[in-house]
Symmetry: C2
Subunit: 371 residues, 2 copies
C-alpha cells in the first residue's frame, strides 16, 4: 500500500505512510496515485478483498466484514429494464462500508489509534463497524439534534458518540479540533478522504464483473458529498471503459447539478431546502470541481429530483421487494426521469446504484406510508 | 417442481401442485420428497438460483431478490476461531428470506393470489418482500400489541397488516379463518411449511461450498420454530456429509433442548419466560419430533442459553463489527458455552448461523446500551 502517493492538482505531495485529509498548502482536496487496473483482481475472494491489489491496503490485514459482490438485481423502473446495484445489503447497511473498510485499514496501518468522524448517519455506522473490525477506537461527533436511534448502531460497534450543539459546520469543527489535540487520533472525513473514495470504487468494478466484464451504458448515482460518484469515476477507470455518469441530487439541494447545467468549473454552495433525501443534503461538497470534471469527462449529466419523483421511486422500489431509505432512491428517481423525458439511453446496461437500506429509516418510511 | 411429492410419516400424500400446510388426516407436519443433491448445483448463478434444481421451484420463474452467498466470516468467539454465516445480510434482513423466496415461488406457481401469514417480525417482512417480487398479495395478521415500527417494512412492500387482539394463538386462528374463507388465498405458516424449510436449506449448502465443499464439524443454530434447524438437516443431507447440529434456544423458552436432555421423542410445550431472544420465544414448535430426530441423527445436542450469556454474545459480535439482533446471537452464545465447558469440538470448521440484523432491533439495542 505504501507505493501509493498523494497528489494535489497533479503535483506529488508524498507517500501514504502518514494520514492526510487535505492538501498541505492549499487546503484543497487530495487525489491518489496508485495501481488501478482490473487485471490485478484476485478472483479467489468473493469480498472486496478481490480488489486488494488495486487499493491502498495491506492484503494480509484487510478486514472486509464480508463486504462485496452485492447483488446486481434486474428490475423494471418506469417501464424500462434496469439493474439495481444493491449496496443497501452491505454489512452496516450502506455503500459507505466500501469506503470505510479501506479508509480504516489505511489509518490502522499508519498507526492511528482513534478515528474521529463527524456524521449522524451512514458514515458514522460504517466507520464504527470497520474501526471495530480493526480493533481501533472510534469517536463520532454528531449534531445534538440527531436522532438517538440513528446513532445506536455506531454505539453498538463500540464508538463513543459526542453530541455537539449548533450547525453541521460546528460539529465538523469540533471533530477537527478534537483530532488536532490528540496525537494518536485522526480526523477521517469521508467527504474529503481520497482513500475512502478509492474503496467506494469497488462498486463500479463489481458491476463491470457482474455484467460479464462490460461497463454499463449509463450509471445513475445518488450524489451528496460525492463519494459514490468519485468511486464510480475511479472504478470505471480501472475497467478502462467509462459509462456515462449521471449525478442524481434532490432538487432541494443540488449544487453539483446546478453547476453542470450552468456550465461552471466550480460548485457554488447551495442553500439547502427540505428533502426526504437527508443523506444528500450537503450544500457545499468538498470535491466539487473534481466531481464536475468526472461527470463531464464521462459524457454524463445531472438530474435534480423533485420530492414527488423521489416518493414515486421509493414506492416503485418497495413494491418490487427492494427496501431502501429515501436518499437511496435518488438514482432510481433520476432514471425514471430520463425514461419519461425520452433521453436517449444506449443499448448497454442501465445501472442504478442503491446506496442504503430502508431499515435505517423507519420513521421516514412510517410517515410516508401514513401520509 | 411438480415432480416433488408431499409425505406424512413416510406415506406419499400427493404432488405439490396444490398448496398444503398440514398432513390431510392427522394435522401433523408435512415432509417433502424431491431431488436433493449438490451435484445439481448450477454454478452460473451466485444467488440461491444456483440451487433451483434442488428446490420445488420453476427455475425460469424464481425471484430471489439477490438472496444468496451471504458471507462466511472468520471470527473469534470466546477465544476460539469460528465462522459466522451472516444471513443477517439477506435482502429483508433475516435468514427467513431463503424460505420465503421458495415458499412464495411455490404458492405463485400453484395459482395462489394472496398469501396470508401470522407474524409480527422477520417472517412477515420476508414473506411480504417475496410476495412483492412475485406480484401477489400479502396479508399479515399481527398481534395488536406488536410494535408498529416492526411492521412498517412489510407495509412498505405492499402487505396489508391486520391487527388482532388477544394471544399469539388467536392471531394464528384469525389468519387461518381468513384463508379458509378466501378461495384465492392460502395460509402460509413458515413454521409448518415444508417448502419454506426446503428454501432455508440453502444456508447449509452455501456454507459447504464456502468451506471448499466440506461440511463443518459442528453448526450452532438459533432455534425457535425450527426452520433454520430443519433447513440445516435438509441442506447437509444434500451435501452427503452431516455436521453435528446444535440447537441453541433461550433458557426462558427451550422446549426442544429440554426434550433432548430428557431423552423424549416428542417436545412438550414450554411455559415461556421473558427473553431478549423474542424470535425464539415459541413454546410449542409444530415440527418438534422431526427436529429432535434431526439433532440426534447428527450426533448433535441442545444448549439453553441464559440471558446473561446472550448479552455477552451480542456484545462480542457487535464489538467485532457484526451488528445482529438479540435472537441472532443465540448461536454465538451456545458456541461460547461449548468453548467454556470444554466440549470436544472436532478439527473441522465450527459454524455459527447469524439469523437477523441488528437494524431491526433498535429499541432492544438502545435498552442494552443504556442499561
Amino acid at each position: 500500500m505504501f507505493s501509493w502517493r498523494y497528489r494535489c492538482g497533479g503535483r506529488d505531495v508524498g507517500p501514504l505512510t502518514s494520514p492526510r485529509w487535505q492538501c498541505p498548502d492549499t487546503a484543497g482536496a487530495l487525489e491518489l496515485d496508485g495501481p488501478n487496473d482490473v487485471a490485478l483482481t484476485d478472483a479467489g475472494h468473493t469480498t472486496i478483498a478481490r480488489y486488494a491489489a488495486l487499493l491502498p491496503v495491506d492484503p494480509a490485514r484487510f478486514e472486509t466484514l464480508g463486504a462485496g459482490m452485492t447483488p446486481l438485481l434486474p428490475a423494471v423502473i418506469a417501464g424500462r429494464n434496469v439493474f439495481l446495484k444493491l449496496d443497501s445489503l452491505l454489512p452496516s447497511g450502506s455503500f459507505k462500508d466500501r469506503g470505510a473498510a479501506v479508509a480504516v485499514a489505511h489509518l490502522a496501518a499508519c498507526g492511528v489509534e482513534r478515528v474521529i468522524v463527524d456524521s449522524s448517519g451512514n458514515a458514522a455506522a460504517a466507520m464504527a463497524a470497520y474501526c471495530a473490525a480493526n480493533r481501533i477506537g472510534c469517536v463520532v461527533y454528531a449534531p445534538a439534534s440527531a436522532s438517538a436511534a440513528k446513532l445506536v448502531q455506531a454505539r453498538a460497534y463500540g464508538a463513543t458518540v459526542i453530541p455537539v450543539d449548533g450547525s453541521r459546520e460546528a460539529v465538523a469543527e469540533a471533530a477537527q479540533t478534537a483530532a488536532e489535540g490528540d496525537p494518536q487520533a485522526f480526523y477521517a472525513s469521508h467527504n474529503w478522504s481520497p482513500v475512502f473514495a478509492e474503496g467506494v470504487k469497488t462498486w463500479a468494478i463489481e458491476t463491470w464483473e457482474q455484467l460479464g466484464r462490460t461497463s454499463p451504458d449509463t450509471v445513475f448515482v445518488p450524489t451528496g458529498g460525492g463519494s459514490a460518484l468519485a468511486g464510480a469515476q475511479r472504478g470505471f477507470t480501472a475497467t478502462a471503459e467509462m459509462p456515462r455518469i449521471v449525478a442524481a441530487q434532490p432538487a432541494a439541494c443540488a449544487p453539483l447539478v446546478d453547476a453542470l447545467v450552468r456550465g461552471l468549473d466550480v460548485v457554488p454552495a447551495a442553500v439547502p431546502g427540505h428533502t426526504l433525501a437527508e443523506g444528500a443534503r450537503i450544500s457545499d461538497p468538498p470535491r466539487g470541481a473534481m466531481l464536475l470534471e468526472a461527470v463531464r469527462a464521462s459524457r454524463g449529466w445531472g438530474i435534480a429530483v423533485t420530492e414527488a419523483e423521489l416518493r414515486d421511486a421509493l414506492r416503485e422500489l418497495w413494491a418490487q421487494g427492494v427496501y431502501v431509505e429515501p436518499t437511496a432512491a435518488l438514482g432510481a428517481a433520476a432514471f425514471a426521469r430520463a425514461v419519461r423525458e425520452e433521453t436517449e439511453l444506449g443499448d448497454g446496461a442501465q445501472v442504478v446504484l442503491v446506496t442504503g437500506t430502508g431499515l435505517k429509516a423507519t420513521e421516514a418510511v412510517t410517515t410516508l406510508l401514513n401520509g
